[in-house]
């Protein structure tokens, strides 16, 4: 459905934000995972027609996005990573305003849109309150409501769960799950669970390049049997870091559980761990770091 081929972007200051990104994104939820600064937002903005890449091409359902951004915008719903609100404007009025901006002219149609969405995102009761007074979760729900106006075929959601408490996050992800069946939804995040819970397909972006792409279950399957875990004292951690490539550490009951990746049993008290998407992601990041170090050394 959405095809990116060889998309690169270099900022005027020389930062290479996107490096030859080629992706094919089908209908349904698609997770874009990556650490902060990996280029996720640049990629999202590029697809959302907010900036033109230095090179490469993007098509959506056969439409050349770079040549005709205005055509894509008619089919797009976008929730940026960070957005503010106008003072003294209520949720109802703002959504109504957005409906007009997106091209819903009729009063009745606008009312249907606004009220349906407010009910859907569970903001009906607070519709007359100024958005400026909303909590983070309410604000994100308002954000998704505006992105859904007019049945977009491509929905881009950039880091929507950052800063939400678990309950709000669940509520938000459920909302996404409801809509992500017949349209393309790109969800960018640095939180692995978001993707694990929701997305039939995903990619990992590190330093502007795609490091991994596929269905989470396939990726987990591929990693099966290569993840080993051990519980160590905190003080021992540096020693282990020297000996093994530690892909993640986690505190549990005051001690540290470390995960390493190894095709064979490393011994030394390590036990095979079941291995989840998180391990896959962290190992990908670790590989990225290794390469970067190698490049620097060379």
């Amino acid at each position: 459905m959405l095809e990116l081929s060889s998309v690169s972007h270099v900022y005027p200051d020389g930062t290479r934000a996107l490096d030859n990104v080629t992706l094919s994104i089908p209908k349904g939820m698609y997770g874009l995972l990556g650490p902060n600064g990996a280029g996720k937002s640049t990629l999202m903005r590029t697809v959302a027609t907010l900036q033109s890449p230095s090179s490469g091409s993007i098509t959506f359902d056969g439409l050349d996005v770079l040549a005709k951004p205005e055509e894509l915008r008619k089919r797009l719903g976008y929730l940026p990573q960070d957005f503010g609100v106008y003072p003294r404007v209520s949720a109802y009025d703002m959504l109504d305003h957005m409906a007009v901006l997106k091209g819903i002219a009729g009063r009745a149609e606008r009312r249907d849109t606004v009220e349906t969405l407010l009910a859907q995102v569970n903001l009906w009761d607070v519709r007359k309150k100024a958005i400026a007074g909303f909590s983070g979760g309410m604000r994100q729900r308002f954000g998704i409501a505006q992105a859904l106006i007019g049945n977009p075929e491509l929905i881009i959601v950039d880091e929507p769960t950052a800063g939400l408490d678990p309950e709000e996050r669940n509520r938000f992800l459920n909302l996404l799950a409801e809509i992500g069946e017949n349209v393309v939804v790109i969800l960018s995040t640095h939180i692995v669970e978001d993707v694990a819970d929701l997305c039939p397909r995903m990619a990992v972006l590190v330093n502007g390049a795609i490091r991994l792409e596929g269905a989470p279950s396939d990726l987990i399957e591929k990693a099966r049997g290569t993840i080993w875990a051990k519980t160590v004292e905190r003080g021992e951690l540096p020693a282990y870091r020297k000996m093994y490539e530690v892909i993640s550490t986690r505190l549990f009951a005051g001690r540290t559980i470390i995960h390493i990746m190894s095709p064979t049993d490393p011994g030394d008290g390590f036990e095979q761990a079941p291995g989840g998407l998180e391990d896959v992601y962290f190992s990908t990041l670790a590989a990225g770091r290794r390469e970067a170090t190698a490049r620097q050394a060379a």
């Binding site: 959302a48 797009l76 929730l79 819903i104 002219a105 009729g106 349906t116």
Partner: protein
């Protein structure tokens, strides 16, 4: 903790846009007032723009305005945390109430004080601008700025901060804080009017005026320019007490704020809680209307809805923002103050007719509307980005036009609404003055529509600049530069309207002539700039920011591609419109008309003077008869004049040369014939011709001159069609259509700085009093006594007026033709007028055999004071004929002219009078000074003093004309109102004289040497003449004056001299005392200081009362620059006892218990007066007949 909170608050406020907006506004106001004559705060005249007094005065005035800003600062402190929901967090910390509240207040007040520093800074900067007249600038002394700021601005700003901090603490609402400001202002102004106007309370008012105005003006009220320029009022007495009081009041305000403030949220009231609950129930009861499938977008058909909704959204964002409310309130305050207190003459307010209010609105309100245009230009363009909402909007299918166009329209509509509010303010002022003739059509056509269009032009520019600018602040900076340019470009000589975007030329408003002078020009200019505006709007749209690309260069690169569209075509239309209109206007202004910038015009006048002033004393024949045929075509603004002069050589010597010139550049000198003389030189550039008689004109020999001229405003000039020859209300004097014989100084450069710039003597002073040669010429441009025969025609619906008896008056076809012939000699300086007049007439039989016809030619809309004018003419002619001699005409006419200027003038038998002056005076309150009668009596007196006796062209020339006219008018007022009511007139004249002395530019002179200085010959002259007639006897003075008239009536050279009048007064002096008085009053500058220190009343055994009055008396002689030396006083001065205070409205004859002259000498002395009744007031010179430095301390209530 306290310090950290204060510092945090200060830093917060410095980032607040209010701080920067205040900085810019107050900088512009002050800078503008310093460098431009169009904007005025306080002093003027000979007081330097950077004099200590001016520095203080400017700061005092601006403190009043600053109230609106300080409130924004300090109320923000209180309201902010509640608005942002951050309050509970802050208040639950361990911060103490004192540190929290007072710390924050300190920070906010610090920011307010910091921002106000821009006022002294702007004066300093303004005084250094190169184009300012160096004579209006004194040396900059840093201490004055520091002291002025520290002593006057700081306590007042602190007080205002504290006061409104308390109000905000109590109300916890920005809106109510502003209501508080308005309330304070009303109370403050009313208090000022009620208390400060009462002389007895002047000291109390001075002390208690919390903003320091009172104390400051009390201490400096009679300062001369020299004093004002060189010293600060000492920080003692009333000023010290007053400034201390301001600080104390401020602390009290803070204490109240501290006392009323609680950390805990005050619970909402029961009623509000109930209302909220009801609202919540209603909200909860409504169910959403949901649909299974959301409606699809149809962007193609949403264009109109998008335009409408986004415009509405932007408008709502603007009008709901606090800054808008502040700016609107400031603008309204400024304009309502100007509307309510402007336009007085002699303290009498005018009837607030719409046409007179419109220029006041333009001057006082539009600056704020401009600031709104500029400020919100930035806000609307950057709003989405500032709010971080731009990515959401940029990713919608909103087409490019929908970004900039609704924003521009929104700002434009906000501006229109703002103007409508200002009109409502004006209407409210009218209603408050009992004027209910609301002429909304005039408001619309003369103010709203043109000003709105002008503001829209600025709004478009502002949006364009912001669309291109890399930041909002830079955009504002650029627009501020534009504003500064608009203020200053004219003052440095770039006055052509086509060179600065948005300038629409000069369009004065008149009830008689509408906007016919500049209205058309204005709309052509708006079309011209509108073309540019369209182009700018298109460019802004094409180069808008969308997405993350914010750099300008890529957007410029994209421009050609984007321009190939409908928008580009629209831009082209704009460009073509501007081009075509520009070509048309250029042709009108610079080809059809001759355009001269101010500098060009000045250079030309300087050249004229250098070339031709040498002929000033060249003897010329006198004109004896003037015959004219004038055809006025009002609709075409055309005048065709043909005429002839009969001349005689009355110089006693043969004359070889005849100078014929027409300096008015608007009028073309078509032909001149002088039989028996040949044209020796013809300077076409200056229309200056020199003829040489073939045989010199022998003494007594006659000569003739015929001429034809044309004045035709057929094309638009940079100032419209000119204000003299207009559609309705033409008012031309003969120098504007007929050639002048000989050279004189009229119309030469007068401004000292300008003259110096062109290498001329700084001033052209008249000949000295001792110069007897000067008596060969008269001071009225040496015009001759002539007999006239004028035939004047105009459009059939207008009435033509010229001097002389009306011999015939008929309508022939579409023309009305009237012929006027003089029955007595008139000065060859006269006016003709033409307009659609109503005529109010009155026949008076007592005068002469043929009787006398009094007439007022007035606009049908201005009937208010016509009867009063007729009465005044009748009464004054009655007095003059009885005391000075016969009136020379069978008619006297007051003729209204459009208010393009504000004066009344006396030509022979005809008195043109501005529609903005007496015709609108409001005498609803009988206590007002009847200046219409006063002025009418003055102008009628000129029929004697000028039109029967004309003085020589030397020092003291205006003494015989203006001072004697003032004297005559005062005598008429005395006859009408009685001696005991005269104090009001005298005091007005006296105060005016004393306060104007400071503005003297060259030197103050004694009356007998007055050099056309209005404050001397009108103001001081009135007081002095009144005292002289009081001391020497009215009848005796009038007899002496009648003798003077007999000597000089219609006489040419030698003309009357001020010495004749002085000698006349000396001849009336009966003793040394009176001779001294004449000398002191007429031949010296003498200032008195008479004071009643105390009075004690004792009832005597015989039932009578003895009043023991202690008085202090001093006399000073002053020299031209204001330096004074004490002189011994030895005079007989009036002492009076009264039951009411003289000068108060209720005071009249029956309140006078005793009034007698007593010998008074310098120093303190005690006087005893016996009376039958117990006095409530006692005093020295109670009617203010002396030139008394402080005329308010002459009376005292016995203790």
């Amino acid at each position: 903790m306290f310090g950290r909170i204060a510092l945090f608050e200060l830093r917060y406020q410095l980032r607040n846009p209010v701080f920067w907006a205040a900085l810019v506004i107050f900088f512009l106001l002050t800078f503008g007032a310093t460098v431009s004559e169009d904007i005025m705060i306080g002093s003027g005249g000979n007081v330097h723009v950077n004099a200590p007094v001016a520095i203080i005065e400017t700061q005092l005035v601006l403190t009043l305005f600053y109230m609106f800003v300080t409130t924004a600062f300090v109320a923000n402190v209180v309201v902010r945390d509640d608005d942002s929901g951050f309050g509970p967090i802050v208040r639950s910390t361990r911060v103490t109430k004192f540190a929290y509240l007072i710390g924050r207040f300190t920070g906010a007040a610090g920011a307010a004080l910091l921002a106000f520093l821009v006022v002294p800074a702007a004066i300093l900067l303004g005084s250094m601008m190169p184009w300012i007249d160096p004579e209006t600038v004194g040396p900059n002394t840093l201490a004055w700025y520091v002291q002025g700021y520290a002593l006057y601005a700081v306590p007042s700003v602190f007080l205002l901060c504290a006061l409104f901090f308390a109000v905000a603490t109590m109300t916890r609402s920005m809106l109510y804080s502003y209501v508080g400001v308005v309330g304070f202002l009303v109370v403050y102004l009313v208090y000022g009017v009620l208390v400060a106007a009462e002389p007895d309370y002047r000291e109390i008012a001075a002390l208690t005026d919390p903003l320091g105005f009172g104390a400051f003006s009390y201490e400096t009220r009679y300062w001369t320019a020299a004093e004002a320029n060189s010293q600060m009022p000492a920080l003692t007495g009333i000023i010290l007490a007053n400034r201390g009081l301001a600080l104390l009041l401020g602390l009290a305000g803070l204490a109240i704020a501290y006392w009323r403030f609680t950390f805990a949220d005050r619970g909402i009231s029961v009623r509000k809680a109930r209302r909220l609950a009801r609202k919540a129930r209603k909200l909860a009861a409504t169910q959403p209307r949901t649909v299974a499938a959301l409606p699809a977008t149809r962007p193609e058909s949403a264009a109109f809805a998008r335009l409408l909704m986004t415009t509405r959204f932007e408008i709502r964002q603007v009008v709901q923002s606090p800054a808008f409310i502040v700016l609107l309130a400031l603008g309204l305050f400024n304009s309502i103050a100007a509307l309510a207190f402007g336009g007085d003459f002699y303290g009498t307010a005018p009837i607030p007719a719409t046409f007179a209010l419109i220029p006041v609105l333009e001057g006082s309100f539009t600056l704020f509307a401009l600031i709104i245009a500029i400020y919100y230009g930035g806000e609307v363009v950057w709003r989405d980005r500032d709010r971080k909402f731009h990515e959401v909007i940029d990713a919608t299918s909103l087409p490019g036009w929908a970004f900039m166009i609704p924003k521009t329209i929104a700002v434009a509509l906000v501006l229109v609404a703002t103007l409508v509010v200002s009109v409502l303010g004006a209407v409210a002022v009218q209603a408050a003055n009992g004027y209910f003739n609301f002429e909304f059509g005039k408001y619309l056509a003369w103010y709203l529509a043109p000003t709105a269009a002008d503001l829209v032009l600025v709004a478009v520019l502002s949006v364009f600049v912001q669309a291109l600018s890399p930041s909002k602040y830079l955009g504002w900076g650029i627009m501020t530069l534009y504003l500064v340019a608009a203020i200053t470009l004219t003052s440095i000589g770039f006055d052509h309207p086509m060179i600065l975007y948005g300038r629409t030329g000069f369009s004065p408003v008149s009830d008689m002539n509408g906007v016919a002078v500049g209205g058309a020009l204005g709309w052509w200019m708006r079309l011209y700039w509108g073309g540019f505006a369209l182009l700018l709007a298109v460019l802004a749209q094409l180069m808008r920011r969308r997405g993350t690309e914010t750099r300008l260069a890529p957007r410029i690169r994209q421009l050609p591609r984007r321009a190939a569209s409908g928008a580009g075509a629209l831009g082209l239309v704009g460009l073509l419109t501007a081009g075509a209109t520009g070509a048309f206007l250029y042709n009108e202004m610079n080809v059809e008309n001759e355009y001269a910038s101010r500098d060009d015009g000045e250079a030309r006048l300087a050249e004229y003077e250098r070339k031709y002033l040498q002929y000033e004393t060249l003897r010329q024949p006198s004109i004896t008869d003037v015959t004219l045929a004038l055809d006025i075509f009002p609709a075409e603004r055309r005048l065709e004049a043909k005429g002839s002069y009969a001349m005689v050589n009355d110089t006693g010597v043969p004359l070889e040369m005849l100078i014929v010139r027409l300096p008015d550049r608007e009028t073309e000198l078509l032909e001149v014939e002088v039989p028996g003389a040949a044209l020796q030189s013809d300077d076409g550039e200056f229309q200056f011709r020199i003829y040489r008689f073939e045989t010199p004109l022998a003494p007594g020999e006659k000569a003739r001159l015929t001429f034809a001229t044309r004045r035709w405003h057929k094309a638009l000039s940079t100032t419209g069609y000119g204000t003299r020859l207009v559609e309705n209300g033409t008012f031309l004097n003969n120098s504007e259509f007929a050639p002048i014989i000989g050279m004189n100084r009229q119309g030469l450069l007068a401004d000292r700085a300008t003259r110096r710039r062109y290498g001329l003597e700084p001033e052209l002073r008249p000949a000295r009093l001792e110069d007897n040669n000067a008596r060969e010429r008269n001071y009225l441009a040496d015009t001759d006594w002539v007999m006239s025969d004028i035939t004047i025609s105009t459009a059939a619906d207008q009435v033509p007026v010229a001097p002389g008896m009306k011999v015939s008056d008929e309508v022939r076809g579409k023309r009305r033709i009237a012929r006027f012939r003089s029955g007595a000699p008139i000065l060859a300086f006269f006016s003709v007028q033409s307009a659609a007049y109503d005529i109010a007439a009155r026949e008076v039989q007592e005068f002469g055999e043929d009787g006398l016809r009094l007439e007022v030619y007035h606009d049908p809309q201005h009937p208010y004071n016509v009867e009063r004018m007729l009465d005044a003419m009748e009464v004054s002619l009655g007095y003059y004929a009885a005391n000075f001699g016969p009136y020379q005409f069978d008619h006297a006419r007051i003729v209204e002219f459009p208010g393009y200027a504000q004066f009344a003038q006396a030509f022979a038998g005809t008195m043109p009078w501005s529609e903005k002056m007496g015709f609108l005076a409001n005498f609803a309150d009988p206590g007002e000074i009847d200046y219409v009668t006063y002025i009418a009596a003055h102008e009628m007196a000129h029929q004697y003093w000028a039109h029967q006796l004309i003085s020589a062209d030397q020092q003291g020339g205006t003494l015989l004309v203006e001072t004697l006219a003032q004297y005559s008018a005062l005598m008429v007022m005395k006859e009408l109102h009685g001696e005991d009511q005269m104090r009001r007139f005298l005091k007005y004249e006296l105060d005016n004289y004393l306060s104007s002395r400071g503005s003297e530019a060259i030197e103050e002179l004694p009356l007998e040497r007055v050099e056309n200085q209005g404050y001397i010959h009108y103001r001081k002259g009135s007081v002095v003449m009144y005292l002289l007639q009081d001391r020497l006897g009215e009848q005796r003075v009038n007899a002496m004056l009648a003798g003077l008239l007999d000597r000089y009536r219609f006489k040419s050279q030698p003309y009357a001299s001020a010495s004749d009048l002085v000698a006349g007064f000396h001849s009336l002096a009966r003793n040394e005392e009176e001779s001294d008085l004449v000398r002191d009053l007429l031949q010296k500058i003498t200032i008195y200081d008479l004071k009643a220190a105390e009075a004690v009343v004792r009832e005597l055994d015989d039932g009578r009362f003895e009043t023991v009055l202690t008085v202090e008396a001093t006399k000073y002689h002053a020299e031209g620059k204001g330096r004074e030396t004490e002189a011994p006083l030895e005079d007989r001065i009036e002492i009076g006892l009264f039951t009411e205070r003289p000068g108060s409205g209720a005071f009249d004859r029956e309140n006078v218990i005793a009034m007698e002259r007593r010998p008074i000498r310098s120093g303190r002395q005690v006087l005893r007066i016996l009376s039958d009744r117990r006095p409530a007031w006692a005093g020295i010179d109670p009617y203010n007949k002396y030139v008394d430095r402080d005329s308010d301390d002459n009376l005292v209530e016995p203790g």
